[in-house]
């Protein structure tokens, strides 16, 4: 593969067939990394793609209001039970008030048409690192967390990113923190006197904050550290469906992000991995700052970044290079990302491409129109699948109910006959229904495909569809090398 496409495959989403190739790849990367993160909207100049309307990008308060409305109407509908009419009303309610489907579709549009492809790859990396599974009511918040909690934070530090996503209602809900109460909190003490009341600590987020989001088990923390972290987190977050007056009463505010309920908080200072943490609201920022700059965190995440972008098995030297930038820049994400990209470009290793990323690359390379515009979001037919189903079927979706460790960067996790069948079937579906503007041969010429790839494509015979499938499922386009 020629240089531009090799870089775009490893670090981006491939150049669309109508995109002009940049001459200076470093400048191309830097212009994306330095641009203020567009938190919302489509960065695209393609005439055939309508920009995503503002009306479909609700903020958290509106999302919460829509959630409450959804819940109330759903309750009404359940009580009514008059057959088809109710079914139609329930469907209308879902379309009008639930945001998950829209958000996932917007994410896809951006990945298919967005010009900031490198940034979108980092968005996927961090959205996966800080996984918010689709359980309870988090479906309503995942899209917001990805746009505002992750993508919007790339011009700042890892510490800001960590604090922002830890206090995002999506994370606080997903990892059961919203009603966790400090062991000696007013709430727990009050509850102890009532027969049907239960309040106390839930250590789920505290544990994953240490294990997955920051230092990892390699840091050797203890069960007491987890308990202390959970006590620092106690009080943070609120039920997304909480009415505004209730929210004011419990937490004094109306914004669902950054909600701290003093009554649920554990009084007194805490100690996490040897670090004293103050009592009160500011304790969490102190904890996340401590963890963000911890050597074990730097090691854990630098390794993960290298595994994701540089090589299936990165060298110690490569990992150390990222760690050095991290330390020297005090976690400046722009500089860390720049170093990771530099290593990815300089490494001769192929990097196995995630199914989700591969699908975007196939659509972009071929100029297929496989996903509908936002206008037709609730309207699909026998040929085109709805967006959510596409990614479920592929086995990789940020809107699925998955475990908090997210999708693996270990190639072996993605090697199975069924996984490979999905690649073949989607290449087929994209060819049949997406009407690619580019044939397999045109794509191979443009990207400078290897002799092996050309031989493979030639071997399958004259069918243009078979050639397209063979190209997209070639070792070169899947990012498999056999060293």
């Amino acid at each position: 593969m020629n240089k531009q496409f090799r870089i775009a495959q490893k670090t981006g989403l491939m150049f669309r067939d109508d995109e002009i190739l940049p001459e200076d790849m470093n400048a191309w990367i830097q212009s994306q990394l330095q641009a203020a993160s567009p938190a919302l909207g489509l960065a695209s100049s393609y005439a055939d793609v309508a920009p995503w309307p503002d009306g479909l990008q609700p903020d958290l308060s509106r999302r919460a209001a829509m959630w409450r409305r959804y819940r109330d109407l759903e309750k009404q509908a359940r009580e009514e039970k008059n057959g088809q009419e109710t079914q139609a009303a329930r469907q209308a309610n879902r379309h009008e008030n639930l945001t998950a489907k829209l958000d996932e579709h917007k994410f896809v549009q951006r990945n298919v048409y967005g010009a900031d492809q490198v940034k979108l790859r980092f968005t996927a990396f961090w959205a996966n690192h800080f996984t918010i599974g689709n359980t309870f009511d988090t479906g309503q918040m995942i899209g917001h967390a990805i746009d505002e909690g992750i993508l919007a934070k790339f011009n700042g530090s890892f510490a800001d990113l960590l604090y922002g996503i830890t206090t995002h209602p999506g994370m606080l809900t997903y990892l059961d923190n919203v009603w966790s109460a400090g062991e000696r909190s007013e709430q727990a003490k009050g509850c102890a006197r009532k027969p049907d009341c239960q309040a106390g600590l839930n250590d789920n987020l505290g544990r994953e904050l240490l294990e997955l989001h920051t230092v990892s088990v390699a840091a050797g923390y203890t069960e007491e550290d987890i308990n202390a972290a959970a006590n620092v987190l106690a009080g943070w977050g609120i039920d997304f469906g909480e009415e505004l007056p209730q929210m004011r009463k419990r937490a004094g505010g109306t914004n669902h992000w950054n909600v701290y309920k003093k009554r649920w908080a554990q009084p007194g200072s805490k100690k996490v991995m040897g670090q004293s943490i103050y009592a009160g609201r500011n304790g969490l920022r102190q904890l996340t700052d401590f963890l963000a700059s911890h050597e074990a965190t730097i090691d854990h995440i630098s390794t993960k970044l290298c595994q994701h972008f540089v090589s299936d098995s990165p060298s110690t030297k490569q990992i150390e290079a990222v760690k050095l930038v991290w330390r020297e820049s005090e976690g400046d994400l722009q500089l860390i990302h720049t170093k990771v990209l530099e290593l990815a470009i300089n490494s001769p290793d192929a990097k196995f491409i995630w199914p989700m990323t591969w699908l975007f690359q196939v659509v972009r390379l071929s100029g297929a129109t496989y996903f509908k515009g936002w206008e037709d979001i609730h309207d699909y037919d026998d040929k085109l699948m709805n967006t959510k189903k596409v990614f479920e079927e592929l086995g990789q979706s940020f809107w699925s109910s998955r475990q908090p460790n997210g999708y693996s960067d270990d190639k072996d996790e993605w090697m199975s006959a069924e996984m490979f069948e999905r690649r073949v079937r989607f290449a087929d579906a994209i060819y049949r229904n997406g009407k690619p503007r580019q044939s397999a041969n045109e794509i191979m010429d443009r990207i400078g495909a290897s002799q092996q790839t050309r031989a493979l494509v030639a071997s399958v015979g004259p069918s243009w569809r078979d050639r397209f499938i063979a190209l997209m499922c070639s070792p070169e386009l899947m990012g498999l090398d056999y060293v």
């Binding site: 250590d203 544990r207 040929k383 475990q403 006959a417 790839t453 071997s459 399958v460």
Partner: protein, 385 residues
């Protein structure tokens, strides 16, 4: 469901492993089709054994766990009850085709899902030490194949190149690829990827329509295993056992998150039973989970990550039912690190006994080659006689 009476046996001392081999080849490799089949249901998230099979005879249970203990439990004997969601499993217990091992775990005490899941599938001496899984290695030793009912190839089955997976695609606007195309693509790949495309080419010839819920997949797996040339092992994953909050419903402890997931497990076992048909007689099915949960209920009507749990076993190769345990007790001093149910039986021994029964491998070989633990106690006789 009326009261069931099940004998309660205590396990023999760990070192008292018998050399009795129940008519199976004494050493080395199974020469032909092995004597039975083995299926593993992975319960992802850490299943609460104290709620699935509550020790109602333990005086500390209700003191510590009233809000998550089902009150409508089925009494197995004067000490153990069974969660009401496990209805089919209860019938099997009544007919001598199900057993349980309680207060058991893999030797992993650090309470991380992801380390724990890796260890119970890898079956090595520490998390992330293995590139293959214990069932994969056992099948490799026997030279017979297993199948996973999942999109991925789970670690537990890796290690034998004939193993495959099944999770039927449902993709609009695409057709099943033809075998020639897949074979050509396979030739363009190397090593494991080439093998996978070749398997796909073989598979493209049969068209099986199976719904993808775990119970239907279990039934399909049972049917496949019942065929003469079918797989002898299968793996199914049931997720969402990580019951940190609302584990049981407030006001109705028989319902809630855990009750729903246990019903899925019950349906999976029933699915296997239906699918296996006559092959049920030689089948063994066992559950596997990364850890149990805290003895005490947490602040959000759930339980946090713990240690010991229960393993559920079913299949015609069990000849009578029992709860096999060396019960540690639930009081604070009996708990592991003053919070979890202690594990007094190494669950690897249970897995080893199931391999011995189904694949006919010698225990010492399993201990050394599958679990890399030559000293692993043999508890075959407690389970299968």
């Amino acid at each position: 469901m009326s009261k069931l009476t099940v004998g309660r046996r205590n396990i023999l001392k760990a070192g008292a492993a018998s050399l009795f081999l129940a008519g199976m080849p004494v050493t080395g490799f199974a020469k032909s089709k092995p004597p039975g089949s083995i299926s593993v249901i992975i319960l992802e998230g850490g299943m609460d054994g104290l709620a699935a099979m509550p020790p109602i005879g333990d005086p500390d249970l209700m003191r510590m766990r009233q809000s998550v203990t089902p009150d409508n439990y089925l009494a197995l004997n004067d000490f153990f009850g069974l969660h009401p969601s496990l209805k089919f499993y209860a019938q099997l217990m009544a007919s001598g085709h199900a057993s349980a091992v309680h207060a058991t775990a893999f030797p992993y005490t650090k309470r991380s899902h992801f380390e724990g899941q890796n260890l119970i599938e890898g079956g090595g001496l520490s998390p992330f030490s293995e590139k293959t899984g214990w069932l994969g290695r056992a099948l490799d030793l026997s030279g017979v194949a297993g199948r996973s009912l999942s999109l991925d190839m789970p670690l537990i089955l890796r290690g034998y190149h004939e193993n495959d997976n099944f999770y039927p695609a449902s993709i609009r606007g695409s057709k099943k690829p033809n075998a020639d195309l897949l074979n050509m693509i396979a030739m363009g790949h190397q090593m494991d990827a080439a093998q996978l495309f070749t398997k796909l080419a073989r598979k493209s010839e049969d068209s099986v329509q199976v719904p993808r819920d775990p119970a239907s997949l279990a039934k399909y797996a049972g049917r496949a295993m019942a065929q003469t040339d079918g797989p002898v092992a299968s793996v199914i994953r049931v997720s969402e056992f990580d019951s940190h909050s609302n584990q049981a419903e407030s006001g109705n402890t028989n319902e809630g998150r855990l009750a729903r997931q246990l019903s899925v497990v019950d349906d999976v076992i029933a699915g296997y039973r239906r699918g296996l048909g006559k092959a049920w007689n030689d089948a063994i099915i066992l559950t596997l989970t990364e850890f149990g949960r805290t003895v005490a209920v947490n602040g959000t009507r759930g339980t946090d990550h713990g240690y010991g749990s229960v393993g559920l076993l079913a299949g015609g190769s069990l000849s009578n039912s029992g709860v096999i345990t060396d019960w540690p007790g639930l009081s604070k001093k009996d708990q592991f690190e003053k919070r979890d149910l202690m594990a007094t039986i190494d669950y690897r021994s249970v897995c080893a006994a199931c391999i011995e029964k189904s694949l006919g491998l010698d225990h010492d070989l399993i201990a050394a080659k599958v679990f890399q633990q030559p000293e692993l106690p043999r508890i075959f006789d407690q389970l299968f006689t």
